[in-house]
């Protein structure tokens, strides 16, 4: 067997982003192959973040292991798209960052929990999480916050059902879900009523 497992045939993994194709072309001019470590630029929380990743590196691992300073607010829990702890916003949509390759995120705007309180001031949702005791161990918290941020940005008057649905892909083991829902209700436009 001479095929390296790092060899990544363009198109085979469903890669479609234009930015990625360009990077691949620059890296392996004319061969349509995309092999080994590649330097790409991610746009994270409004800043350009250079990372050097393999084609197989997930967006989650790129954020956590290849940025400086490390963006470890986004948590790794299942690494298989089942728990929501790694939820980030990509062009405003909540996505499990363990299910997206870093190279797919090129040219798209990524927002992480670190981006919610830039300048040090907590967002109304983060503030509500503090007020309603929506954190216990805190490991699931960033994922819940990102899912709800997207939900409330899409619909500032989201209903309780919208809120429950928005976080139904986020796993919490300490049992903070009731407080999370209360916090989100309080943070939406017009408050809890």
């Amino acid at each position: 067997m001479t095929v390296s497992r790092r060899t990544f045939l363009k198109g085979a993994g469903g890669l479609a982003a234009a930015g990625t194709a360009a990077t691949a072309a620059q890296a392996q001019d004319g061969t349509q192959r995309f092999t080994g470590k590649t330097k790409i630029e991610l746009s994270v929380n409004g800043k350009s973040v250079p990372v050097e990743v393999e084609p197989r590196t997930t967006l989650l691992n790129a954020l956590r292991n290849h940025t400086e300073p490390p963006l470890t607010g986004t948590k790794i829990v299942c690494d298989r798209g089942t728990c929501g702890a790694c939820t980030v916003l990509v062009d405003g949509e909540p996505l499990y960052s363990c299910m997206m390759l870093a190279v797919e995120a090129v040219g798209r705007e990524v927002r992480t929990v670190e981006g919610l309180s830039e300048g040090g001031e907590l967002s109304p949702l983060q503030e509500a999480f503090c007020e309603h005791d929506a954190t216990m161990c805190g490991f699931c918290t960033p994922g819940f916050l990102m899912s709800l941020t997207a939900c409330l940005e899409r619909n500032p008057k989201a209903s309780r059902e919208d809120i429950v649905s928005a976080v139904d892909g986020n796993l919490c083991r300490c049992g903070t879900q009731p407080q999370v829902v209360q916090a989100a209700l309080a943070a939406r436009a017009g408050g809890a009523k």
Binding site: E54, V77, R80, V113, C130, C137, T141, C174
Partner: protein
């Protein structure tokens, strides 16, 4: 909670007295007698005079957690750090031969080691056999895959039935059935059944449950050669990892520091460093570089412990006037290569007039059970609460009334009554027989109660420091599991000085601070809070004595009012906190504190009720509402306390509805090693939940709450299902298939 001799081992000498304290061993609490001086200790102030405590307090570390700034062991990034990963044996028992060389040829892999099995075959499914360290987690995974491993499978057992079969492969040299123990008189219990009006004989089973800590187990060990190391651990016991790691690093335990600033859940499974920690240390020694070894999720499911399964055969009898006359109970704990958990000794909570209880551990070649939040109690609760319920319906008595008649502690009557009112029991139509199943939906209500110790012991050394600039720092080594330790450390100190919570800096989770116990068995608060109170009180008295000296007045004339204002009653002098602290000159004032027995209590209760709706056509179960009423002596932070009660109820309803480890009995493969196949309750699965603090408990002493809240939920749900539709489910989880099967049986 294990049994303890009812009376002290000997009479107390003059000036001394015996008290009961709680010690935690591997997450299981053990009570013991301790001889102390018989003098009046310090007390908490009256509840109504408290300004911060027994109120809702905002968690001090919430801003760190919501902003992503909180750094967990998973998040530690150090220069030169490598990522470790384990190779797990895919068979329940096998001889292993390994060729590590191909792993070292993988780009990025720096080292590969074989785990020391002492020349023996592996002992359980998922036992680690090798480890690698690499520059990225991806390369580490490649390294693990590159190892050439040849397994020669031996005969194994993975289920209860396989383990007890004649001629079964043996798990331990003592056989598969070990540690038999019994309590009571079998002959008496049998003859008492003869006088009963109703006798119920049933077998109740519970599957293995996983802890599902969101942060998987592991450590980051910062060792670069030499004789010092720093461990970043995801642990429930700050002082454990360093001591254990020192052995594998080959350096003195005193030279290994540990820090646990944030940790992503333990639930009883995170004390020692485990094989993953050992591997991290050995790789660090090999390479002289920091190693980050945190388990993958599938590894976590296979090798990071679990709540033991349980197989219980019960016979119970009652008279028609509601006396619980006799109980014969045979308990098998299913803890893999571990012993499993069940409260030992007498029947759980209820006190039948005659009883015989025997228990044994049945071992299999699967991961050993560990303590899990209230070890053994949910299992015990499910069997006894189901049987009690079955007996009540058998004599056509309201199951609430039958419970109250057979529980002698007045806490239970008060708590059950409260739960009954909140859940709507007294207006419920069918209280002595199940509801009809001729409509699409059947609604039912069920109850169950809990007990736990939650007492403390002398374990924590706390320091309070007042700086001349007015800042106050309280330090102790204790960890915060998400339970709110950090917050009450600050709040108790602030209460003492008339300050706000934010005025006090709590420093916790480090071996650099005072010694502290591990968080197991709900003993953290009851061990730590008294020591914090003592340190704060000592600091206040020392501070006032210093000011009195400076001002030439008697210390007794000085007091601290709200806002930290120091008042001299002899001269009406009022000095702000900052000005008073400035009187310290150039040196900080430091005071220490230790455990004070009168500040901590022991023994908690709890009652929970569940309301369910069963779809009689599909067997689908909808939880409508759950109520939990719990006591814990003096509440410190009511908001965090309600969160703990909520959390316990959610974990137990998840156990009731979804959770079950499944291992293929023919292939020996664990089918539930991910969240696709091991379902945990999500937000959309939750009912309305009401967490109620029982303020009828007027003990002005702190007691731990965590365990109590997780004990009775699944039992209350099982009883609610029966009340709804007459289907008695005797095994968890309560799947629609089981309910449907029960409905079919009723109809035919």
């Amino acid at each position: 909670m294990s049994t303890l001799q009812e009376s002290p081992p000997s009479p107390a000498p003059t000036g001394k007295k015996w008290i009961r304290v709680t010690q935690v061993v591997d997450g299981h609490d053990v009570e013991e007698w301790m001889l102390i001086d018989d003098v009046e200790g310090i007390a908490w102030p009256a509840r109504e005079s408290m300004r911060l405590l027994n109120k809702d307090i905002r968690r001090v570390d919430a801003p760190e957690k919501v902003s992503g700034r909180a750094v967990y062991a998973h998040d530690v990034r150090l220069p030169g750090m490598l990522y470790g990963r384990l190779l797990l044996c895919p068979h329940p028992k096998a001889s292993v031969s390994l060729d590590l060389a191909p792993a070292l040829e993988v780009e990025g892999v720096e080292a590969a080691i074989e785990m020391d099995l002492g020349g023996n075959p592996t002992g359980y499914l998922g036992q680690p056999v090798a480890a690698v360290a690499a520059t990225t987690p991806e390369a580490a995974e490649d390294g693990i895959r590159a190892i050439r491993a040849v397994y020669e499978e031996s005969d194994w057992v993975v289920t209860f039935e396989q383990a007890i079969a004649e001629g079964a492969p043996q798990v331990s040299s003592r056989g598969n059935i070990v540690r038999p123990g019994e309590d009571g008189d079998l002959g008496q219990a049998r003859s008492a059944l003869a006088e009963c009006d109703a006798v119920v004989e049933a077998t109740y089973t519970l599957p293995v449950q996983h802890h599902v800590c969101l942060e998987t187990h592991g450590i980051v060990v910062d060792y670069r050669g030499g004789d010092e190391a720093l461990i970043y651990a995801s642990t429930q016991g700050t002082f454990i990892p360093g001591r254990e790691a020192a052995q594998h690093l080959g350096i003195a335990p005193s030279k290994v520091s540990t820090t646990v600033q944030y940790m992503g859940g333990g639930f009883g499974s995170k004390f020692g460093i485990g094989p993953e920690g050992q591997a991290a240390c050995l790789l660090a020694v090999e390479l002289g570089r920091p190693i980050h070894l945190l388990l993958t999720r599938s590894d976590e499911f296979l090798m990071a412990g679990n709540r033991s399964g349980s197989h219980q055969e019960l016979v119970g009898g009652a008279t028609s006037d509601g006396r619980f006359v006799s109980l014969i109970q045979r308990i098998s704990k299913l803890g893999g290569i571990g012993g499993g958990s069940h409260p030992s000794g007498r029947p759980y909570i209820y006190k039948p007039e005659k009883h015989h209880v025997s228990n044994q551990s049945v071992m299999t070649h699967t991961d050993g059970s560990r303590a899990m939040r209230a070890p053994g109690h949910p299992q015990a609760s499910f069997a006894i609460e189901s049987l009690v319920d079955e007996l009540a319906y058998a004599i056509e008595m309201d199951p609430l009334e039958f419970r109250i008649r057979n529980l002698d502690d007045p806490f239970y009557e008060r708590q059950l009554d409260r739960a009954a009112r909140e859940i709507g029991w007294y207006e419920h139509r069918h209280r002595t027989k199940p509801g009809p199943i001729d409509r699409d939906k059947a609604t039912g209500i069920g109850f169950a109660v809990a007990t736990w110790g939650g007492g403390g012991r002398p374990a924590c050394q706390v320091e309070v420091r007042i700086d001349p600039d007015g800042s106050v720092v309280t330090s102790v080594g204790s960890q915060d599991l998400g339970t709110g330790t950090r917050t009450y450390v600050a709040a108790i100190t602030a209460e003492e000085f008339g300050l706000e919570v934010a005025d006090v800096t709590p420093r916790i989770g480090s071996t650099d601070y005072g010694e502290a116990n591990a968080s197991g068995g709900s003993t953290t608060t009851s061990s730590l809070a008294p020591a914090v109170k003592d340190a704060a009180r000592n600091a206040r008295l020392k501070f006032l004595a210093r000011l009195a000296g400076n001002w030439g007045v008697e210390p007794e004339t000085l007091a601290i009012e709200t806002g930290g204002v120091v008042v001299d009653r002899s001269s009406d002098r009022r000095v702000s906190w900052r000005e008073a602290c400035a009187e310290l000159g150039s040196t900080a004032l430091v005071a220490n504190g230790e455990w004070q027995r009168d500040l901590a209590g022991n023994g908690i209760h709890g009652a929970q009720a569940a309301r369910v709706e069963v779809d009689t056509l599909t067997g689908e179960l909808r939880l409508v509402k759950m109520v939990g009423v719990h006591d814990c002596g003096l509440p410190l932070n009511r908001r965090a306390l309600r969160s703990q009660i909520n959390g316990g109820m959610i974990e137990s309803l998840s156990y009731a509805l979804f959770e079950e480890r499944v291992i293929d009995p023919y292939l020996g493969v664990q089918l539930t090693a991910d969240f696709d196949n091991y379902k945990v309750a999500m937000t959309g699965d939750l009912p309305e939940i009401e967490a109620i603090i029982d303020d009828g408990d007027d003990r002005n002493q702190v007691i731990g709450i965590a365990e109590g809240a997780i004990i009775p939920g699944q039992s209350a749900i099982a009883n609610a299902i029966f009340n709804a539709c007459g289907v008695r489910l005797r095994s968890l989880p309560f799947s629609p298939a089981k309910i449907l099967e029960g409905l079919e049986a009723l109809r035919s």
